[in-house]
């Protein structure tokens, strides 16, 4: 032990510059490696997606992004129906889940006793832990017949069903993250506002929500990420029809999302084929969309 220490001090250290020596601490090395691996994994993932989808992009070019026909066996690859479907499903999910999640967080954080708050939280955490295929099955057996009969549709498989199932799945994320953000605001801030005779609505909009916004924003981002990447539940209810909604706001017809397409067709595509490469392109578009959302959420105006 002594010899090792002396070796370090007199043999190794004199040859290493002071700044480098500063980073030789094992904990610092571990932290730095973790940091590098996080960045590296994103780059590797992107590189892999680009490399595997490159043959497809080389063969068909970027115009496939706005093509509306998808017949892989006739070498027709149009991405637009799946992109539109994905955006619609995300939008419907957020329209339902954001107000509900936020309201649930406000009620549980500001109006409930600690016992009830914990009870609601446990419920939400259980909801978050349920596998996505179970949500899909619930949608298949409960939601689809309900939509079909109540809206008098030919089939219940549609974008509305996909959005509704997704909203149920992302609700716990938004609620729990928003609740944490609201709970993190100090009691002094609440009492200061109360002491000024500010009513609860103003306290909410002028004190609580602005201060909790960074946490709520993170919750929305995580929820969007989950909704964007969700495959199984969406695949079971969306209908998997590669066509654009007609008119564009018709969310009551079967449609397709990027994840659902990948999940449904990957087993049929032979490795290395153009079809396989096109599905990798779908993955690349999903990754770019997720990154875009992430960048948008970190935009300065939104942070404030």
């Amino acid at each position: 032990m002594m010899v090792r220490r002396l070796c370090k001090k007199w043999v190794i250290y004199p040859f290493i510059k002071h700044k480098v020596r500063h980073f030789l601490n094992p904990l610092k090395i571990f932290v730095a490696l973790g940091c590098v691996s996080a960045v590296l994994s994103v780059l590797v993932l992107l590189g892999f997606l680009i490399q595997s989808s490159l043959p497809f992009w080389q063969a068909f070019g970027i115009q496939v992004l706005w093509g509306d026909a998808w017949y892989p066996y006739e070498s027709l690859f149009g991405f637009l129906p799946a992109i539109v479907g994905t955006v619609w499903a995300l939008l419907i999910a957020m329209i339902i889940a954001l107000p509900c999640g936020l309201a649930a967080a406000i009620v549980s954080s500001e109006m409930m006793s600690e016992t009830w708050r914990n009870l609601v939280r446990v419920g939400m955490e259980i909801l978050a832990g349920i596998p996505s295929v179970v949500y899909g099955l619930i949608g298949l057996w409960l939601l689809l017949p309900f939509l079909q009969h109540s809206l008098d549709l030919l089939t219940g498989h549609n974008l509305l069903a996909a959005g509704m199932i997704l909203s149920l799945m992302i609700l716990p994320t938004i609620m729990v993250m928003s609740q944490d953000a609201l709970q993190a605001i100090s009691e002094e801030q609440r009492e200061s506002a109360m002491n000024l005779g500010v009513d609860w609505q103003q306290r909410l909009f002028r004190v609580l929500l602005p201060q909790a916004w960074p946490g709520i924003r993170s919750g929305i981002l995580l929820a969007l990420g989950r909704a964007l990447g969700e495959t199984m539940a969406v695949m079971l209810v969306v209908g998997s029809m590669d066509r654009l909604p007609e008119p564009f706001y018709n969310i009551l017809e079967p449609a397709q999302t990027l994840t659902s397409r990948i999940g449904r067709e990957m087993g049929e595509a032979s490795f290395g084929s153009l079809h396989f490469s096109a599905l990798m392109g779908c993955g690349l578009i999903l990754a770019v969309m997720a990154m875009g959302l992430s960048l948008l959420a970190q935009h300065r105006s939104l942070i404030r």
């Binding site: 100090s186 002094e188 801030q189 009492e191 200061s192 506002a193 109360m194 002491n195 000024l196 005779g197 500010v198 009513d199 002028r206 004190v207 602005p210 201060q211």
Partner: protein, 269 residues
């Protein structure tokens, strides 16, 4: 410049409907408070003069802060009677939010909102009042809190950039912006440096010329500097009250003498 309370310009549109009495005084009668099966206040009765400082002293856990929280409605489970302007607090016109605009409460730890200094001052005003130009009013409130000279060139800076002492004076200005009838102060200088302490005490002395102030403090030297009336509380009860000089020179009750003795020892250490 005359900075007395009555000489201050009115904020655009008066913020209280209950103003209008010739005098403002607080009267607590047989006040009891129970929290978690513990008796916090036992038969507390006292009244405040129309103006002047009343210091509320006593050992920790005596119920001083709880008493202030009862008056402002932060503790709502009290029993007994509290009257302000001869009006029962529980039947206050406009509810507890309107009442709180009438009573300014400064707590021990300054808590400023993450907005600018000027916005902090006008935070309690209504939306309509905030939209109108309140620069003269902001100036007067900050002057009364002895903060104007230090912040007049940076009113749009975040309030969090101020020092702790400045933040406490900003809280005072924020409470004064609502033109309260009385001020309740819960150890307002507990964690401040001597200069900030002196500035706040000077402001309080000036404010006491026009409104009643009830100041909870552990600093007996501060109590003597502020003069006025003294209320001594122990174990949730009022033990003794009296004028400042008389209270310190001729305490009547044995509990008061013991408390003062301990406090003198503490100051000596």
């Amino acid at each position: 410049m005359n900075l007395s309370h009555k000489a201050m310009p009115e904020p655009i549109e008066g913020s209280q409907k209950n103003v209008g009495h010739a005098f403002d005084s607080l009267c607590c009668e047989h006040l009891y408070l129970h929290l978690s099966n513990q008796v916090i206040l036992k038969d507390v009765s006292f009244s405040l003069p129309e103006k002047g400082i009343t210091s509320l002293i006593g050992p920790s856990g005596a119920g001083k802060s709880s008493l202030l929280r009862c008056i402002t409605g932060l503790n709502e489970t009290w029993q007994g009677d509290i009257k302000l302007n001869q009006q029962h607090l529980r039947q206050w016109h406009g509810g507890v939010d309107a009442l709180r605009k009438h009573i300014g409460l400064i707590s021990q730890k300054p808590s400023v909102f993450p907005v600018s200094i000027a916005e902090n001052v006008t935070f309690g005003l209504s939306r309509k009042q905030r939209k109108q130009n309140q620069s003269t009013w902001i100036q007067h409130c900050l002057e009364k809190a002895a903060l104007w000279d230090e912040v007049k060139h940076r009113l749009n800076m975040p309030a969090a950039s101020l020092s702790l002492g400045q933040q406490q004076r900003l809280c005072l200005a924020r409470a004064l912006a609502l033109k309260p009838s009385m001020l309740l102060l819960d150890e307002p200088t507990a964690s401040l440096d001597p200069r900030s302490k002196a500035l706040i005490e000077a402001s309080l002395r000036q404010l006491a010329e026009s409104m009643p102030l009830l100041c909870v403090t552990h600093d007996l030297q501060q109590t003597q500097r502020l003069q006025g009336q003294v209320i001594f509380m122990c174990d949730g009860k009022i033990i003794e009250t009296g004028a400042c000089g008389d209270f310190f020179e001729h305490p009547k009750r044995i509990e008061t003498r013991e408390f003062l003795q301990w406090s003198v020892c503490d100051c000596g250490d």
